[in-house]
Symmetry: C2
Subunit: 339 residues, 2 copies
């Protein structure tokens, strides 16, 4: 196959210098309209597009963002947050022809991946998701000189710009609704507490119960997984005084919980109300349909990418706050059973 054309080929073909081709392409002043058209026509005819690596080298910009996911692969597949989030990032990036480098790794190797990303200068900045307590990454990216944006609450961002979408209101609304329905023993199956969002969900549950003057029901770890959700549910339902409602950290655990309840002959919602989080497409089709919460993951991705853009442009970017997650009541909740 023929060698790809370079800027020199276009210049020759249009009878101008390489400089002019570059100027014409980038809409810089100093090129006569007529010449510019001739250049662009030549480029089109030869099918020339500037080489990204070459452009990246002279501009000192890679033209790509990085996203490092350090969950176990099993868990990543579980929720559809990431695909939607990535789709949103793509919307923001796609216009400029930039791209997203996705690195899936294990928690142990996480730091080295960021280090390599920074050392390589393969990305211009990174999006930090799934923040943990004492998360090393804000400091790490700062030390590495790697621009970053935190995808989460501003309190977690450690000085970085954040793009937040609050999941708390959905939990507050869910717990309040359950209380309205007469529930007094409302349990929580929490996600891994090292994650700030998992912890935040638990706090929302706990504090809302407190505000309502209700005792905190039992809490069990569900690990955001089907297995964890099933095990926790089994344990909760075998208590002397089982809860009449369970609020899960995510839909996967909740769906598994729904199956366990059914297996144990506990009718939902007659004897147990169930609430998930994520609005997984499956939740509308479980039996009964699972109450959940919806967050605009796609919009989140788009906003995060735009924020990182502005950070890279050197702007002082304020924390971005997106509309919060919304509680979606469905048939999996109902009035508390009579004692």
């Amino acid at each position: 196959m023929a060698r790809r054309p370079t800027i020199a080929d276009v210049a020759r073909h249009a009878g101008v210098s390489r400089t002019s081709v570059s100027f014409a392409l980038n809409d810089r002043p100093g090129i006569a309209e007529e010449t510019k058209e001739r250049i662009l026509a030549a480029a089109a005819e030869l099918g020339w597009t500037p080489s990204r690596p070459a452009r990246a080298l002279s501009l000192g910009k890679a033209g790509a963002f990085g996203l490092v996911l350090a969950r176990d692969p099993d868990q990543i597949g579980a929720d559809l947050f990431f695909p939607a989030f990535i789709a949103g990032v793509e919307v923001a990036l796609g216009e400029r022809g930039d791209g997203l480098m996705v690195h899936l790794t294990t928690p142990e190797r996480e730091e080295s991946v960021y280090e390599r990303l920074a050392a390589d200068r393969r990305v211009d900045g990174v999006l930090l998701t799934d923040l943990r307590h004492e998360d090393p990454r804000p400091a790490l990216t700062h030390r590495l000189g790697l621009p970053a944006v935190v995808v989460g609450q501003s309190e977690w961002s450690d000085g970085l710009t954040s793009v937040g979408l609050d999941d708390r209101p959905a939990y507050v609304a869910a717990v309040r609704r359950l209380a309205e329905l007469g529930h007094r023993r409302i349990a929580h199956v929490e996600g891994p507490q090292e994650f700030r969002h998992a912890h935040r969900r638990r706090s929302a549950w706990e504090e809302t119960l407190g505000d309502l003057g209700l005792p905190p029901g039992p809490v069990l770890p569900g690990g955001f997984t089907a297995e964890g959700g099933a095990r926790a549910t089994r344990e909760l339902l075998s208590l002397a005084e089982p809860p009449t409602a369970i609020v899960y950290g995510n839909d996967l655990a909740a769906t598994a919980g729904l199956s366990v309840a059914q297996e144990l002959g506990v009718p939902v919602p007659e004897r147990l109300s169930v609430v998930g989080y994520d609005d997984n497409p499956l939740t509308r089709y479980t039996h009964p349909p699972l109450s959940s919460a919806r967050a605009d993951a796609r919009g989140w991705g788009e906003a995060a990418a735009q924020a990182l853009d502005r950070v890279l442009a050197g702007e002082e970017v304020a924390h971005v706050v997106l509309p919060p997650a919304e509680f979606i009541p469905r048939a999996s909740i109902g009035p508390a059973p009579r004692p």
Copy 2:
């Protein structure tokens, strides 16, 4: 922040030329052992790593692969094939420090994404997944001079190297097992037939029934979605002679189908046997646990990346065949009900 060190800084620091630094780094002969150590020490001390863009420019290699997903975001999130697949690709790429550019797009814009990928020279090659009938991509990548590997059966690859993992045996085994259990009316809820794998699954079901001398049961589209699976199941169960077993195109549709059966008061597996595909982590925790099929998506990703590596190295790569998917019977199947 200080400017990042370049190869010239390392050369100066070690008292050698840039050439020597490059040679030392790339293990090329012609550098004395002692000198090499001094160079590497200098590099380490300055914290220098070669810049990817610069390297990409001189080598004419981007050091990255591309993966374009053209499903609707909702559908991508649904199965955990991609996260596991990407994790596998990462394993193969990570060793060399290469990366994966993921582009999530819509079917309409798919071709232009490949065109840009090729024009930009931002990736060295692409992995083609989700092949369709009359898929334009093998010809497109060939025309664009963009090296590619087909993730799927060799018959689909149109001359490209393929890395296949056969899902057929799992379907054959499932249908045979159902027949053994006495089922005679075995339905199929198929995925979108423009996808070759969806079509292949349907053919496996159909041909196995034929081999067994059984009439093909009803087929309905399920679109690989929860909604489609639920709708198809509802329709199947309201037939005058409803099937006693349903084989779904994937777990998502099957899980939704399970809920519908339950909602309609059709006990599983007593009156209806159900089989999915993908071995989604949830399937072990549905009620009853869903029979499914397991394929090593991670290994698939790793093998695909390695194959693309070898294609890029100019080797003649034969079609790679991985161990086929395996049927995983669980409690969602049982003996056919007595008429």
